[in-house]
Amino acid sequence: MKVHPATWGALAALLAAVIGLQMLQAREQPPGLPAGVSTNLLYVRSPEFLRRAALSFRALAADIYWIRTVQHYGRTKLSTDANKQYDILYPLLDLTTSLDPYFDVAYKFGSVFLAEQYPSGAGRPDQAIALLRKGVAVRPDTWELAQEIGFVYYWWLSDYDDAAMWFNRAAEMTNAPDWLRPLAAVTLAEGGNRTSSRTLWTEIARNADADWLRDQATFRLKQLDAMDGIDFIESVVERYRARTGTLPTSWADLIRAGFLRGVPPDPTGTPLRLDPSTGKVMLDPGSSLNPLPNPEHPV
């Protein structure tokens, strides 16, 4: 049967109308939710129920929950909301790894999302450890997961005894790299120091299977370089004071005295700042390396 041209016209007009109305509707903001009400909804929280309900499509369901996890973390991290809520991050990761217990990346990246200091992350190293322990229980021979637990203890909790214990455990696992055992020894003997931090971040940068994780490691290594650089320049300032009896009032004093050839930059190329009253050297407030880890932090 031949379709009347008017029918095609009606179809096109209705399609255009639907698109136009949708555009109009999109401009209308729905009324906001009361303060403190979370928009993060998770209809199913029981991993056991979901595992059964997914039938033979568990892996696919795990992928869907993993994508939701990444979206939830990314959206919350990038939001301008003063009260960022990562409240469903752990439940999402728990569901993902219950549906697919071999999902290594969900353990590894998920622990980073959870442990990262609030507001950049959930600020929950305890949950990061719980997630990784769940992974170790399923895959007792995956050294990377044990090493990640050690890392959380080391970097986020400054608990060097537990960190060393987990690095040692990781070192005993199949295919574990040689650098884990010395790292455990250094961690136990000296607590946090820049050498062990550098070892950790260098290995993360080398083994990262995602660009963002490699970027994160590269950023941390630059921060460590900046801290080394600041220490060195402060020693130069100290030598100037020892020779002249006064602190330099600016970089120009140090350059004129032949201690420096120019204004020292941080690893991003931004000039460092000198506090003439204390002789302390610091990053420029505009430097992308801010904030440096706390001096009491494990570096």
Binding site: F57, A59, D63, W66, I67, D100, V105
Partner: protein, 268 residues
């Protein structure tokens, strides 16, 4: 055998005429668009997700075809009254029924084969487009041939679902047949719970009953090794052989049941 072959070829031709193979286009578009979009949605794991999606789609598309075509195989002939012209021909009822079954099996196997080729094609492209350092972190190459083990078991699962759909369609309406086939498929995934039921209840009779049902209901969960192959976990050949034997035996059992019912059915 020749009669079964003729009927089977006709069922396949009919499915082509009914545009069943259009699902292949949907599958290809789905995989290609997802492989393009996935990098934007997630942090790494693109290949794992494509593998999961590909295997799940092969299974899901196959399942839909097996159920919704399977239930209509006999019913359509009755509804169109063509059964009255077919049965007087020199053809036994079981030949007619088995021909119908193998025709749909042929359609399904061709479907799965084409989807598998498209699936490996997308994965080969992803493998070529991924830098070496990222590929090194994969538990297995993108085009890991071990995934064929999962696809073989998917085909066996589909053979069983088709047989069950055909069995119900020999005595029931299409709607009821679809519901019952779906129900058996779902229950077949809870077999493990039926086996462990005895540990949670006090009544020995109920426990024995659950255990009996566990042995009788088709164990569809056994055909699912998608998770294992995607994570490069080993699926022993012995497991594959035993599950295949179980599947083929169960198919034979259901088909014999269907033949008995169909042979006794009165079409007057």
């Amino acid at each position: 055998m020749r009669v079964i072959g003729h009927v089977a070829v006709n069922v396949f031709k009919e499915s082509v005429r009914d545009k069943i193979l259009y699902n292949l286009v949907v599958f290809a578009v789905l995989l290609m668009s997802v492989s393009y979009l996935i990098g934007e949605l997630t942090a790494g794991q693109d290949v794992k997700i494509i593998k999961d999606l590909g295997l799940a789609s092969i299974s899901m598309f196959g399942l839909l075809i097996a159920i919704f075509i399977g239930i209509g195989l006999v019913w359509k002939e009755v509804e169109k009254r063509s059964i009255y012209t077919l049965l007087p021909k020199p053809m036994r009822r079981q030949e007619f029924l088995l021909g119908k079954y193998f025709g749909l099996v042929l359609t399904l196997v061709i479907n799965v084969a084409v989807m598998t080729v498209a699936f490996y094609g997308v994965l080969a492209y992803m493998q070529a487009a991924t830098p070496q350092n990222i590929r090194a972190s994969w538990p297995a190459p993108a085009t890991d041939p071990a995934m064929l083990k999962a696809i073989v078991l998917i085909i066996l699962e589909l053979l069983l679902v088709t047989a069950i759909a055909l069995f119900f369609s020999t005595f029931s309406s299409p709607f009821l047949s679809a519901m019952m086939t779906m129900a058996v498929w779902v229950i077949g995934h809870f077999n493990e719970d039926l086996r462990n039921y005895g540990a949670t209840i006090s009544s020995p009779v109920a426990a024995a009953l659950a255990r009996g049902v566990y042995y009788v209901v088709p164990n569809f969960a056994a055909f699912d090794v998608k998770l294992q192959v995607v994570h490069a976990q080993s699926v022993p050949l012995r497991y594959l052989a035993l599950t295949s034997l179980y599947g083929v035996t169960y198919v034979a059992l259901v088909l014999v049941g269907a033949v008995i019912i169909f042979s006794k059915r009165d079409f007057k």
